[in-house]
């Protein structure tokens, strides 16, 4: 099954409430995906630093001297803000790749969830309410965010298998469904030099979009192309630094509901996920068409 929620704010006044609204939506989707949960949140961009969200199962050990160690390795200041098993590293924008290499060299068990100017990703195994509590998702603010509750099919119930997946700066993707040509596509994308960390089918979907965009496609064009090249069932919700997109495969058996008001665009696997949103009664609510790309940007 899996549950997806997404919220793209048009009204800046709602930004401090983004985490709270998304948390409520995420918990409502628990019975579609009780084994893991995750959220990608697009917060403030301070214009100077890039953010690397990292995770470790042994955070006390791995994060203790990480700032000093990475700073020394890349020859530039680094900041760290820990949040349970995750932390957000602030590094100079031109040092992101160096920082990635330094972390891989210095801390073998640290996973990099995302990098970019605005994106932060938090995901763990467990009930959505416990995951939300752990990271205090409800206190987060931002311009848009995407959440996922997972019922695993294509790979193990692990942190690596949880969604969202990020394979490019400020990009993320969540998925309800299953892809059937992911092994072949993973080999192809790895040959193209795209970074894929897990055995999960969805990560290949994310990597495919990243590859298309590196080749010059817009996100909309990349999503259009995915309809041709990805085989299987999917409802995808994707995020970029300033955008939010939805696409369903041509069979469209995985559920999806969109709602739009002058304050926000919201996505839910079911309408239930949207009932707590402001003035939902007067929103335009509809089911996205199969094989049709929907996209909004700030």
């Amino acid at each position: 099954m899996c549950g997806i929620v997404g919220l793209f704010l048009k009204d800046k006044l709602l930004e401090p409430k983004l985490g709270g609204l998304l948390t409520e939506m995420l918990i409502t989707m628990t019975d579609r995906g009780p084994d893991s949960a995750g959220i990608a949140i697009y917060g403030s961009d301070n214009g100077v630093d890039s953010k690397l969200t990292i995770q470790s199962d042994q955070a006390d050990r791995d994060f203790a001297t990480l700032v000093t160690d990475v700073s020394r390795e890349i020859g530039s200041d680094v900041t760290l803000q820990r949040n349970d098993t995750h932390a957000v590293l602030g590094v100079a924008s031109d040092k992101t790749e160096l920082a990635r290499e330094a972390i891989a060299k210095l801390r073998a068990d640290v996973r990099i969830m995302s990098d970019g100017d605005a994106i932060e990703i938090y995901k763990e195994v467990g009930l959505p309410k416990d995951v939300a509590q752990r990271f205090q998702l409800s206190t987060m603010s931002g311009s848009h965010g995407i959440g996922h509750t997972r019922m695993a099919t294509e790979s193990a119930v692990t942190t690596d298998g949880a969604h969202p997946f990020s394979t490019g700066p400020d990009q993320c993707l969540v998925h309800n469904g299953s892809l059937s040509n992911h092994n072949n596509l993973r080999r192809k994308l790895c040959r193209e030099g795209i970074r894929i960390e897990s055995a999960n089918d969805t990560e290949v979907g994310a990597a495919y979009l990243t590859w298309k965009m590196q080749e010059g496609a817009t996100l909309g064009e990349a999503l259009e192309a995915s309809l041709e090249d990805l085989d299987g069932f999917f409802t995808f919700v994707v995020g970029t630094k300033d955008g939010f997109g939805v696409v369903r495969d041509p069979i469209a058996c995985k559920p999806a509901v969109l709602a739009e008001t002058d304050q926000y665009v919201a996505f839910g696997s079911e309408y239930r996920a949207l009932v707590g949103l402001p003035r939902i009664e007067s929103a335009r609510v509809w089911e996205p068409e199969p094989a049709t790309v929907y996209f909004w940007s700030h």
Binding site: A252, V257, E270, Y271, E287
Partner: protein, 227 residues
């Protein structure tokens, strides 16, 4: 009218209260408040009662209905009126996938649009959709009538048996073994009746009828690419 607050009192209580009503009940009118997209609202009813749902529902609203009139003042999720036997279900808004699937009887009215697989494997139900329907609607439909006042999506009536399909607008494509057929006087009368009962002002003369070409009933090796 009896009011049931779904948020306060829970789904099991609602369905057991409604299912307890029998032919001689005097509790004929119910309203359900705070549905908030919940699943399986008013399923398995078997009495001539009226249930009004004040808002939108999730999966399987009114499933297996017999005799009851269920009116949803909102939209419904997948599988509304699934396997309905008799009675009436009216949806003021839109319906998600497989509305009226496998329905044996009764009338389902969707005043907005219905999405994919509307009336899949219908077995005698009548379905009237005021708006459009999505792809693969009436797939393997066996009996009953599907009336669409708007347009139909791809592969309408694929592998159709004896259900009658009436569409006023365009049909994106017909499925395997589904063909256009003429409207005879008995079809006009049938449409007139269904449109009236569904509170649609559409005119029977504006519809086209589609049905089975009956070429796929038995396996034919020369048609093996069509199955």
């Amino acid at each position: 009218m009896l009011t049931y607050d779904l948020e306060a009192d829970g789904l099991r209580g609602l369905n057991s209260s409604l299912q307890r009503q029998t032919i001689d009940t005097n509790q004929n009118n119910w309203e359900v408040v705070n549905p908030k997209g919940s699943h399986a609202i008013a399923v398995g009813l078997n009495a001539e009662i009226e249930v009004t749902v004040r808002g939108s529902t999730g999966y399987y609203c009114g499933g297996m209905n017999q005799q009851a009139l269920i009116h949803v003042e909102g939209s419904v999720g997948p599988g509304v009126a699934e396997n309905m036997m008799s009675g009436v279900i009216i949806v003021d808004g839109d319906a998600s996938q497989y509305a009226g699937a496998t329905g044996h009887g009764g009338l389902l009215v969707v005043k907005g649009n219905a999405s994919s697989r509307c009336g899949i494997s219908m077995k005698g139900i009548d379905i009237v959709v005021h708006g459009n329907i999505g792809h693969m609607s009436a797939f393997m439909a066996q009996a009953g009538n599907l009336v669409v006042c708007g347009d139909a999506g791809e592969a309408l009536g694929d592998s159709l048996y004896e259900a009658r399909l009436f569409v006023r607008g365009s049909v994106k494509s017909l499925g395997a073994d589904c063909i256009e057929k003429g409207i005879r006087p008995e079809h006009t009368a049938l449409l007139q009746d269904l449109l009236e009962r569904a509170e649609s002002d559409a005119k029977p003369a504006d519809f086209k009828r589609y049905g089975s070409a009956r070429q796929l009933y038995n396996f034919d090796v020369d048609r093996n690419m069509t199955y």
